[in-house]
Amino acid sequence: MYPARFSYEAPETIEAAVELLGGARGEARVLAGGQSLVPMMKLRFASPETLIDINNIPGLAYHGADPDGTYRIGALCRHVDLEKDGDLGTLQPTMAAAAPLIADPIVRMRGTVVGSLCHADPQGDWASVMGALGGSVVAQGPNGRRSIPCVDFVDGPFQNVLEPDELAIEAFVPAPVGTRAGGYLKLERRVGDFATVGVAVSVEFSGTQVTRAGIGLTGVGASTICAGAAAEMLVGEELNGDNIARAAGHAAEMSQPRSDHRGSEAYKRHIVATFVTRILSSLQRTTQEVA
């Protein structure tokens, strides 16, 4: 690997990292897991002047629920941390379904959830998961912290709304209203391939009644699509064949796929509808069994 020349910094505090970012005036990139950035540097698609390695900053590798149910993921939490967390299926079923489908085992060992969100690849999986869950990214700048909802965090392919002197330090998901259920399905040609289509669904139930729902779509638009409107159709209802079909149809309409060697536009829309249906039908069966 022969990247262009760059300087390397390894700050040990968030504040130091933010200061370095500010000093670099937009010519720095943050290195967390490096699973997207380093290959891009290898190909010289990315040639940052400075790499700011945040791996020496203590206290960022956490993930878990606050007492109020808010679920937090620190900037150095690796995909594998979620994949191996046995409690995740209960607390965060959509995340639990997605974690083992991220890239391949090697990438999951080093890659981070927050880094993946910041990378803003339209084919990345976490953005649609976080979108479906109504999650946010916490950014720290020289003047303090702010929360940015995931639906607003990305403003184009490989572009996020962070200021050049802001560091993403956490992603969080609000506490559920009722019981949380969900799933993630991904059509990929091979392990480690980007998604042809990825569908994240999160549904919160009170009994069998839907209290909150979210749908996120990966790979079928210039950036992740939060099909909120399709999900909201379900709120206040019990899942049934009709409303599942309507939500699936609406999600397919909201997707904006393009034909390429992974599949035609029509095919990708069809897969969106199929996957939304599959996840919701499975949730319908589970909730009715519980009830």
Binding site: R189, R190, S259, D260, Y267, H270
Partner: protein, 793 residues
């Protein structure tokens, strides 16, 4: 006392691969592991455009970068008459572009610098002014009226056609078709793929100014051919060239051709009088070096109502990229395509072939196959399947009906090959039994009632491996024989060298086993060396499954020469005449008194210490082996699959392979070869392809776009064997390295198509990506050609 052959690691021993102890510990010695004093590093600047005129190349900024030693351009090479080089198919190929670039990734300039970082930076600083030209990416465009002529550098080339070639009996075939009850037709595309060895290509050229000797460490499967070629191209006397091919990280045909990087690194070393290392990156390997396949095939089959095949017509349109640099025997233009239908008793056939230039990377190497055999056998099996469908015949039965029978050998194939052995029906029976054929057919019908789509596909074929006999097979006029040299030291240990070159096939293990079989010297006492032209005897190298058939046979023959001399020594030691002694593994003994004997090791010591009067000392020899025929292994591959009707995703339920590769020297290595071949067969059927957009941009230039299956998606394979010894090979072995890659793809494709079978779907071209399967399923029509590529990528 008789030596136990399996214990000494002889024929049939599942001996662990001796080379693995260094490979798995990271202690292999690949080209990139070699560092020479004063070594410089070379990087290639490649064309971003597929077809463009070069208006100027300005390297001034690159030369100004500290640490840059030399920038080589087409102009510089032209001044030394090195801008073009000959290819293995009697064409020419640009070393560095002078007039035009003709494919994306073509070599335009090279930088030699103190380290690879500087070389890469300097490449980016070279300014090339291109004038874009219209791009041709397939045979249809290449032969269209008014198509731009890609090879306008060639004086008599007024279009993009490279060759029109034919073989077979046209009149006889016409007569067979006139007499047919039914004529079946099929048209398909075998997409371009790339062998993609883990190790890319590379070289270190070391021109010694003190001795004027050129040493080149090089990733090559055929070091001796390279030595001859370098001698001719660079006009260096052959004895002043040493090619060393150290450990190779895979080859699969990709490391047979001569690439511009090798040539330029040699020139750079001569000019700078310092060692120059060039290591290709993965993208460079995928977009510029020898690819496989990329061919459109169509044909017809004349049939009797009962399924008997009366004749075949075939036509191929092959896409060779910008330079015709296929690695293949001289006589043939489209490799051994005409080996198609060799396992079936078909009286007559005719093949026409047209090859064209396009604005794509050149190559057309035999990617894990014996020169276009993969395409031939894929077409054969799909055509037989189409005939079965048309006649409403069972796919196993139509094959059985048309197989060449066990007692019909030798058999002349419709295109003139001579097959010599096989038990085709037995292999098929074992395969059907293993897959549970009749049960599966019932299961398939039941499943269909519940909306589940199951399918089964059979592929059977024999292929010619081990080119070849020297009457018919040569490369650039050099006959395709091979050699081995064996030195038995006085303590009975031995050094064996051959002209082949392992790239992972396990020669160090297998060749020693042949020596053990012939001489009774334990395999662990035999060290095997290959790849250094200053020490290894001449050979044509390793590709087309030819090592065991040719070099392996030479190992047997040289061992037998050693044994013949040892017999004379034994007679001397036992004080009898040669006629009075017998041989058993590892030992000569008195026929009249079997307890009196001498071991091969005792004979070896005597060769250096106690010789009969007048005998030349030492115990070493060499053998050149020119095989009387190719070897004809047989494979039967059966896949069962289930297709998800809502997504088109398909999963392999079971896969059975029955391989008859004759006598197995090391059954474990043979099984490994078959497993690897099947993985590649699955890859091609499912995902592994390279395609191009309309501007000639390569889609498949890295491992995110060019998909190699991992162990996660690759299905399990159940292996079975039949042994029909090769009648002419000294130990009855046949080639095997490529059978599964060649025969496997049709089994997967037929199985998926079988699952969808309904009116209208006759063909789905590889790769069987889910969207293509879904389209065939829901639209009920063929899905043909390369996957569509968006042009605004």
């Amino acid at each position: 006392m008789t030596v136990d052959e399996v214990k000494i690691g002889g024929l049939g021993a599942k001996r662990r691969r001796v080379e693995d102890s260094r490979f798995i510990r990271g202690m292999g010695n690949y080209v990139d592991d070699i560092t020479l004093p004063g070594m410089l590093h070379m990087e290639i600047l490649r064309s971003p455009l597929a077809h463009a005129r070069i208006k100027s190349v300005d390297a001034s900024a690159a030369l100004a970068i500290p640490g840059v030693q030399l920038v080589l351009t087409g102009e510089l090479l032209a001044s030394r008459n090195l801008a073009w080089m000959p290819t293995l198919s009697y064409d020419t190929q640009a070393v560095l572009a002078t007039d035009k670039v003709r494919f994306q990734g073509q070599e335009v300039a090279c930088v030699v610098a103190d380290d690879p970082y500087i070389a890469k930076d300097a490449c980016e600083a070279i300014v090339v002014d291109y004038e874009a030209l219209p791009v041709i990416v397939n045979p249809t465009q290449a032969t269209a009226n008014g198509a731009p002529v890609i090879r306008d550098d060639k004086e008599n080339q007024h279009d993009n056609v490279i060759f029109d070639w034919e073989v077979g009996d046209q009149d006889g075939t016409d007569r067979a078709f006139a007499a047919a009850d039914v004529v079946s037709e099929l048209e398909l595309h075998y997409p371009r793929s790339h062998p993609s060895p883990i190790e890319t290509c590379g070289s270190i050229a070391d021109f010694d100014r003190a001795t004027s000797k050129l040493t080149v460490y090089m990733t090559t499967q055929a070091p001796h051919i390279i030595r001859a070629a370098v001698s001719m191209v660079a006009e260096i006397p052959e004895h002043m060239i040493r090619i060393v091919s150290p450990d190779l990280g895979g080859g699969f045909g990709n490391k047979v051709p001569i690439y511009p990087g090798y040539v330029v690194s040699i020139l750079a070393s001569i000019l700078l009088e310092r060692p120059v290392k060039w290591i290709e990156d993965k993208t460079g390997n995928l977009i510029s070096t020898g690819f496989g396949r990329d061919i459109y095939l169509r044909g017809q089959m004349a049939l009797r109502n009962d399924g008997k095949i009366l004749g075949v017509r075939m036509h191929t349109d092959s896409d060779h990229g910008a330079f015709f640099s296929d690695a293949q025997p001289t006589k043939f233009k489209i490799g051994l395509m005409h080996a198609a239908f060799a396992c079936y008793d078909i009286p007559v056939a005719h093949l026409t072939a047209r090859g064209v230039y396009t604005n794509k990377a050149p190559g057309g190497v035999a990617y894990r196959c014996s020169f276009r055999i993969t395409e031939a056998m894929f077409f054969q099996e799909r055509m037989v399947q189409a005939a079965a469908d048309d006649l409403g015949l069972d796919q196993a039965e139509i094959r059985r009906l048309n197989f060449v029978k066990d007692d019909d050998f030798p058999h002349r194939t419709p295109f003139g090959f001579l097959t010599d052995s096989g038990q085709y029906g037995k292999c098929l029976d074992i395969g059907l039994e293993a897959i549970g054929y009749e049960d599966f057919l019932k299961q398939k019908e039941e499943a269909r009632k519940n909306g589940r789509l199951l399918g089964i596909g059979i592929s059977t074929m024999t292929e010619p491996l081990g080119a070849g006999n020297s009457r018919e097979y040569d490369i650039l006029g050099i006959k395709m024989f091979d050699s081995a040299e064996l030195r038995v030291h006085m303590t009975g240990k031995a050094l064996l060298r051959t002209g082949a070159k392992s790239q992972g096939q396990g020669h160090e293990t297998t060749w020693a086993q042949i020596v053990a079989h012939e001489l009774g010297i334990p395999a662990d006492d035999v060290v095997v060396e290959e790849g250094d032209t200053d020490t290894a005897p001449f050979g044509m190298g390793t590709y087309a499954s030819r090592s065991t058939p040719v070099a392996g046979a030479a190992v047997s023959m040289v061992s037998r020469k050693i044994r013949a001399k040892a017999r004379k020594i034994a007679a001397h030691l036992l004080e009898v005449s040669e006629e009075d002694i017998e041989w058993e593994l590892g030992r000569f003994y008195l026929r009249s008194s079997p307890d009196s004997g001498v071991t091969i090791q005792e004979c070896a010591m005597a060769a250096y210490s106690n010789l009969p009067d007048g005998m030349e000392p030492g115990l070493e020899n060499n053998a050149y082996y020119d095989p009387p025929n190719l070897t004809w292994p047989f494979g039967c591959y059966i896949a069962t699959v289930e297709v998800d009707p809502l997504t088109g995703v398909w999963d392999v339920l079971n896969f059975v392979a029955v391989d008859d590769c004759g006598v197995r020297i090391n059954p474990m290595i043979v099984e490994g070869q078959i497993m690897g071949g099947l993985a590649e067969a699955y890859a091609m059927a499912n995902m592994q392809f390279i395609t191009f957009d309309s501007e000639g941009n390569c889609v498949g230039s890295n491992y995110m776009d060019y998909l190699l299956p991992t162990s996660w998606e690759t299905p399990g394979f159940e292996l079975h064997e039949v042994v029909t010894p090769c009648p002419h090979h000294p130990i009855g072995a046949k080639g095997v390295g490529e059978c599964a890659t060649v025969g496997g793809p049709a089994a997967f494709v037929t199985a998926v198509r079988d699952a969808l079978k309904g009116p209208g779907v006759r063909n789905i071209d590889m790769p069987l990506l889910p969207d293509r399967v879904y389209e065939a399923l829901t639209e009920g029509h063929d899905v043909s050609g390369s996957p569509p590529v968006r042009t605004d990528l």
